[in-house]
């Protein structure tokens, strides 16, 4: 491993500290990531658009500010990248679709302007499943690949956000989580990903999928980095009237306080249910025991509706998406990827009685989760039912109604309960399969209690060195 690679794999906070200490120049670290993108991304396809000139210009300004001895923002000089679902002024924003191949916004999304204000340097726009829906068959801007095994799925919809962090093609990234789109790629790529409480982060300038679930969220190599990124993007935004006015706490402040006294409910149906792979189950139960050893108490709990969450989610979120895309579906259907088009057409035709049943079930599931969180500080389960599957497993046409649950609903039932209930949830690496693919623990917290989620995740992370492992092809 070279010294350059060691620098590239440092945490965002460590890079910010080195910049502050003048041990590393923002120009130097930006060049390093641009070189890595040039060398590795032809295969990984994390990026749709790279902005080297703009990034280096920002880096030179950041360097000048350091040399002038100015007060520096928390992420000063830290190169990041963002899912191509977020508007960037003057930089094309495709949402992963040919329909928006030439779309160049005139204004930054609120999250982008906040990250820039925090001193971070934008390297480029990251690949995603088309319009942040899953099931893309042919990626218009290249097939994103898992850095731990190129034949395997990196997860989605924030695919590039997971890949770029795992392979050190940026220091940290931003994704968007409607029903697991931050946590799934974090899980499959072996990085940390946070879905904040719905409304905690402004959605302004993010291409919509579902108004009641869309939530921007950070991905990084450490929990501390995720806390700092959340700090930069959280808070009320007048441009998103549904964003919360609740005060934003200092998320990194309590990270070292440990988990002594925390009560954690282990969701039986997702941790020990028949769909959960044996290696995933073993790793997550060991993580629960680890949290007990450092002072938490754990108790198995039952939430019988969660295995239905994937189907409930698709009945509701996909219907919202069908509404967003209705005009284009009527006039430009052939321009969508086949998988996206068929998913949106299906959603356009869901009978109202079925959708109503799903909406009522969502309300019941939300009540049950809030009741569980009244008795426990956190809920724990795997982030996914298995490690990253082969890319080929998600390909091919559906030839029977009986294939639908296995293809679409099972895996979503692990990440959609938090989305349906609007709760914060984090994905944290918790080991590797015998084949060398990452495994991931999920912690779900109370509304607006990201601080406890982050504290427990950080405490767990500090017990192991999973985050120190590097993907084989990313040296």
């Amino acid at each position: 491993m070279t010294a350059d690679a060691d620098l590239a794999f440092l945490s965002a906070r460590r890079i910010a500290a080195l910049v502050r200490e003048r041990a590393v120049s923002p120009v130097e670290i930006t060049h390093l990531y641009l070189d890595r993108i040039g060398r590795l991304d032809a295969e990984l396809r994390a990026y749709i658009t790279v902005v080297p000139e703009a990034a280096l210009e920002s880096a030179r300004r950041a360097e000048a500010a350091v040399l002038r001895g100015e007060a520096l923002a928390p992420l000063h000089g830290v190169p990041y990248a963002v899912k191509d679902q977020f508007d960037t002024a003057g930089v094309r924003t495709t949402s992963g679709s040919r329909l928006l191949e030439h779309h160049v916004p005139t204004e930054d999304a609120t999250t982008i302007s906040r990250l820039n204000a925090a001193g971070a340097i934008l390297l480029g726009k990251l690949n995603l499943t088309e319009f942040a829906l899953g099931g893309t068959q042919q990626f218009p801007f290249g097939q994103p690949r898992n850095p731990w095994n190129l034949d395997h799925d990196p997860g989605g919809s924030s695919s590039g956000s997971g890949i770029a962090v795992a392979a050190a093609l940026c220091a940290a990234s931003l994704g968007e989580d409607t029903g697991g789109s931050v946590r799934s790629p974090a899980s499959f790529c072996g990085v940390v990903g946070l879905r904040p409480t719905w409304s905690r982060v402004s959605r302004h300038g993010s291409f919509p999928l579902s108004w009641s679930m869309d939530t921007p969220g950070p991905l990084a190599r450490t929990v501390e980095d995720v806390a700092w990124l959340l700090q930069a993007i959280a808070g009320y935004d007048p441009k998103d009237p549904l964003s919360s006015r609740a005060p934003v706490p200092e998320y990194a402040k309590g990270l070292e306080e440990g988990v002594r006294g925390l009560r954690i409910g282990v969701i039986r149906e997702l941790t020990s249910g028949p769909e959960t792979d044996a290696e995933m189950k073993a790793a997550v139960l060991e993580a629960a025991r680890c949290l007990e050893r450092v002072g938490a108490t754990t108790e198995e709990i039952s939430l019988p509706l969660v295995p239905r969450a994937g189907a409930i989610f698709m009945a509701l979120a996909d219907s919202d998406g069908a509404g967003v895309h209705h005009r284009w579906l009527r006039t430009r259907a052939a321009e969508y990827d086949r998988g996206t088009r068929r998913r949106l057409l299906t959603a356009s035709l869901i009978p109202a009685a079925i959708q109503q049943r799903a909406a009522r079930a969502r309300a019941l599931l939300g009540t049950q989760m809030r009741e569980a969180l009244a008795r426990h500080d956190l809920l724990l389960c795997p982030t996914a039912h298995q490690a990253a599957p082969p890319i080929a497993a998600g390909r091919g046409v559906i030839t029977s109604r009986h294939e639908v649950a296995g293809r679409f609903f099972t895996r979503r039932s692990y990440v959609t309960p938090a989305a349906l209930a609007g709760l914060p949830a984090i994905a944290v690496p918790c080991g590797f399969t015998r084949a060398g693919l990452p495994l991931s623990l999920q912690l779900i917290g109370r509304h607006f209690d990201e601080a406890t989620v982050l504290r427990a995740a950080h405490t767990y992370e500090c017990q192991f060195e999973w985050s120190r492992r590097r993907p084989p092809g990313a040296a």
């Binding site: 409480t197 719905w198 409304s199 009641s212 549904l242 919360s244 006015r245 609740a246 239905r308 994937g310 189907a311 409930i312 698709m314 009945a315 579906l329 009527r330 259907a333 086949r338 088009r341 068929r342 998913r343 057409l345 299906t346 356009s348 035709l349 869901i350 009978p351 079925i354 109503q356 049943r357 799903a358 909406a359 009522r360 079930a361 969502r362 309300a363 019941l364 939300g366 009540t367 809030r370 046409v397 559906i398 030839t399 029977s400 109604r401 009986h402 294939e403 639908v404 649950a405 679409f408 609903f409 209930a421 609007g422 709760l423 509304h447 607006f448």
Partner: protein, 62 residues
């Protein structure tokens, strides 16, 4: 709910002005039937008394 046929799904799409190719129609019908199957067990729950609001825990705006 009985299984929807491709003819029924095609007619519904046409009524909404959605162009569906013959290839798409077969898979869309499977997907729609699969979704309805997956949500069928929820009919056994006492959902009639639950109002379908999201209840996302938004704190007061002021």
């Amino acid at each position: 709910m009985s299984e929807l046929t491709t003819e029924q799904v095609g007619a519904l799409a046409a009524a909404l002005g959605l162009p569906v190719t013959a290839e798409d129609l077969v898979e869309v019908t499977h997907r729609l039937n699969g979704l309805i199957d997956a949500l069928e067990p929820l009919a056994a729950l006492p959902l009639e008394t639950i109002e379908p609001v999201t209840g996302l825990g938004q704190p007061p705006l002021s």
